[in-house]
Symmetry: D2
Subunit: 120 residues, 4 copies
């Protein structure tokens, strides 16, 4: 299914259950950050290296996949109820970031990252 | 652009800037929840009713669209580095939820919501 | 127990279990936002009015209390490993906010809130 | 200032500005997770080792301290409007965790952490 089909499927799912009353932008934003928090918890005690191997354990892989699906579901619902074209929003943002972080300058010494790193 | 194209575009964007070293699953999960938190902040003091009218103000609408794009970008990057087919993950989750919340039973008195509501 | 005693108790708890190795600031920040996300989930489908009555249901009240304790625990651990005096940090921030949001001006039409509300 | 004094100070601060109307538990939970998200963003691209040295840079140290103060402020406000004794909630939770993670068993091979780590 493509983005439009997924969005429509989620809209029908909510509508069939009379859940639109709960799906205000405020509530959906909360649900989204709650699911993002659950996703974070899977990675919180792992080293970055261990986090890169997380899909090797089938049970954890399934858990990660479920949480990613939950975040995606609420993100698409939120964009839908707000009337936002999420693919267009992202391509617009990428175009802005092309200007903000030129590849030639950003290589290696990316300001975006370096400004957050302590000197030592 | 469809999901595959967006994913590929974001992959190239990171690669051109040599940012793959920062894009461990752990770091991307943090970036995702951070952006989700920023999205939440836009809605935190609004009534649910006001939140439904948020796109009427052009400046706020742009802000919401930017934050949604940021969440989407990190979500797609995370799925990509983990090798997860995000559309398949979501359709799988919807199929599970069809069983978990049957439309006939979930209408109006949805357990999912009622269990979280205090009696009064 | 006061703040110092709670901080010391949590430090001992981690030390007795050899968990200091996991308690880097990065990991503790993740754990904190994860617990904050769980707290958010309790409130996500409630109306603001229902959220104000949440302590009337004993089981939910206990759940809320547990999540608040979890957030508090990771917040104190994080401040501790960073060497931050959290009471001093908060009193300093309150002093700044006294200047930023003068009571005389902020009453009713608080800019902090109004700037986030759509006109209608 | 101790916990009670900080809580009272924050209560007065909100009351003087007529902000109690915004401080529903639902809204405060959102504000809390939003600030926790901002805190997370400071650490997201750092290695765990770099995160442990973050206070060496004065500007970043101040930023971390501010975010920790913001999280603490909303946490205390939330506990206050819910009528929760946050120190008692935390000591209760520590007592439960003493049973759940006995020091003798949790040392080194802590189940809490190991269950989240992939084998390799």
């Amino acid at each position: 299914m493509d983005l439009d089909q997924l969005t429509r499927r989620l809209r029908e799912f909510a509508s069939e259950r009379d859940w639109d009353q709960f799906h205000t932008p405020k509530n959906l934003a909360m649900a989204l950050v709650g699911e993002a928090g659950e996703l974070t918890e899977i990675f919180q005690w792992l080293t970055p290296e261990d986090s890169a191997r997380i899909m090797e354990d089938p049970a954890t892989a399934q858990e990660v996949q479920n949480e990613i699906a939950d975040v995606f579901a609420y993100l698409l619902r939120l964009a839908d109820v707000l009337g936002i074209d999420i693919a267009a929003a992202l391509t617009g943002k990428i175009a802005l970031n092309e200007v903000k972080y030129p590849a030639a300058l950003a290589r290696g010494t990316a300001v975006k990252y370096d400004k957050l790193r302590t000197e030592h």
